[in-house]
């Protein structure tokens, strides 16, 4: 177990290293930062000072080492546009994002797991088929379009909910509903297929032979193991979540990290985008690591 954790930690560290390498490489491809940072018409000495101050006179390898040191120390650079520290900007915007992400994740886990079990074991063919169709259609629909359709129905036509922007409870309904709709099918399908997998296994047949009721079989045996294999798909849920948050916050003008990323993209504010990518990347590596550990403790079949 200790060995397993050590190996996973090392994998995580390597992943973060590769991510930094990619981000650093793209930053150098982004063009000359001097063009943006040096005011026009300054003397060569001043320019040389700025170059030295930013470490741009160093070889690329040294610059990369400095970059890694900065990121690990929590320094993500300074926004070209606002002149503020990128870490601070992310920190300021995070609560608004979490107000959508938290409830939407909770709702879609509950909905996805419940509907997934129903889609796997329901005796009614119609129920199973409609849940499959629901998952297939919502998975094919882009989150931004679902959001627009919901706005069109509930805000424009019925006029019962606000179209966008941050505000009270009513402002949360449409964004959370959309994010939930975007995430639920992933959980539903994962749950459904792992329940079907688990139900085919020997120990389940054994339990049935021993006369354990079907409800007990599903509740006690199948659900537990199916949950653990569902946890292993964390990376995919996170990907859906990040994509969903960026597009939704943009559609709803919601003042979170996603909308900030969108605005930074419009303004070509590279340090902000770079910061968001590196922070989400590290976050995803950590959450995946955590999920691995949870999976190991949930599933007794995995012995490492």
């Amino acid at each position: 177990m200790v060995n397993f954790i050590a190996v996973r930690l090392m994998h995580g560290a390597i992943a973060v290293f590769f991510l930094m390498l990619l981000v650093f490489f793209l930053s150098s491809a982004a063009g000359d930062p001097l063009a943006l940072l040096v005011p026009p018409g300054v003397s060569p000495e001043v320019e040389a000072n700025i170059v030295r101050g930013l470490g741009l006179d160093q070889p690329l390898s040294t610059q990369f080492v400095i970059y890694v040191r900065d990121v690990l120390g929590g320094d993500l650079g300074t926004s070209f546009v606002t002149g503020r520290s990128v870490s601070e900007m992310i920190w300021d915007r995070l609560p608004a994002s979490l107000r959508l992400i938290g409830p939407a994740t909770a709702l879609s886990v509950i909905l996805g797991v419940t509907l997934g079990v129903v889609a796997a074991v329901s005796p009614s063919r119609t129920v199973r088929r409609s849940l499959e169709t629901f998952a297939a259609v919502t998975m094919a629909a882009p989150a931004f379009w679902i959001a627009l359709v919901l706005i069109w129905i509930f805000a424009v036509n019925l006029g019962i909910l606000p179209t966008s922007r941050f505000g009270g409870f009513r402002h949360h309904i449409l964004p959370i509903a959309t994010l939930t709709l975007a995430m639920t099918p992933s959980f539903l399908r994962a749950m459904r297929s792992s329940i079907l997998d688990v139900l085919g296994e020997e120990y389940i047949k054994m339990a049935r032979l021993k006369g354990v009721s079907e409800r007990m079989v599903i509740a006690k045996h199948a659900l537990k193991n199916a949950l653990s294999s569902t946890v292993s798909l964390t990376a995919i849920y996170l990907s859906v979540l990040v994509t969903g948050s960026v597009t939704l916050e943009t559609v709803f003008s919601w003042p979170g990290v996603g909308f900030m990323t969108y605005q930074a993209l419009l303004q070509r504010d590279f340090p902000v985008i770079r910061g968001v990518v590196i922070v989400s990347g590290i976050g995803i590596v950590l959450v995946t690591l955590l999920a691995d550990l949870i999976q190991v403790s949930l599933d007794r079949r995995i012995r490492l």
Binding site: H11, I14, A15, F18, L19, L22, L26, S27, A29, A30, E132, A135, A136, V137, M139, A140, A141, P142, F144, W145, L148, I151, W152, V156, S186, R189, A190, R192, S193, S194, L196, S229, S232, L233, A235, I236, L238, S239, V242, T243, V246, T247, T250, V251, Y262, A264, L265, L266, R268, D269, F270, I273, V277, S280, G281, I284, V285, D292, I302, L304
Partner: protein
Amino acid sequence: MSDTQDVTEDFEGTTSSGASIPWVAAVGLGVFVVASLLGPFLLEGSPDTTVLGSRFQPPSREHLLGTDSLGRDVLVRMVYGGRTSLALLAIALSVGMVVGGLVGMLAGMSRGAVGSILGRLIETALAIPSLLIAILVAAALGPGFWSLTIAISLMLWARFAGVIRGVVLSVREREYVLQGKLHGLSTAKTMWVHVVPNVASAALVVASVEVGHIVLLEATLSFLGAGIASPQVSWGLIIADGSNYLGRAWWISVMPGVVLVGVILALNTLGNWVRDYLDPAKFV
């Protein structure tokens, strides 16, 4: 611990409806491809023809999907947007398949440090949400068709490499391959005879499963302004154009979205069918 390819496959779910060809999806896709290829020769007008006198026309016989805020025909723009998607699919899939195939085979064949480092690299690339990579590329190189192609290839190669690495790892330990080696078959010959055919069908499966994701991602990125930029046409861009006029002209955003969902649904359905058909044991 599950390998990366299991993750993608589980996520897609399995089609329990048996192995019959999903005709509805196939015909729908055929219509989409033919319309994109031949549409410009059959329909009048170009996607940029602005007729200010006929702005915000609801769907009618003349304009099947209505017109937008500049009086451009939405159906004509959809046809041109479809061409953009097809071009992107063709280029990104080829690049992803070639790069991912080579890296995946190398990662699967080489033992020791190289194989292990490549394996980590593939896992990392799979873990980072493709939307973030694409926004990063768009910010670094400026949005447009080519940075979108680069971004999508950056995501795709890892999907191919992950699955192909898994296939190579499992094939190379099989009895007949080991037997061949014992009988003096060279590594190159082993690759050619045993590994390449398996890899080819795996690559086909990945490609058919990923097309839907690519179309979806392209629309999302173009909608956000990180993908196709005007004057080129894309479905995401059309929907974004219409999002300001939901009250006045709902069809500009809603109708292309319906078509988009239909196409992605058809692509996913066919993709799952190809996967089940080619190798149910390995990929389900």
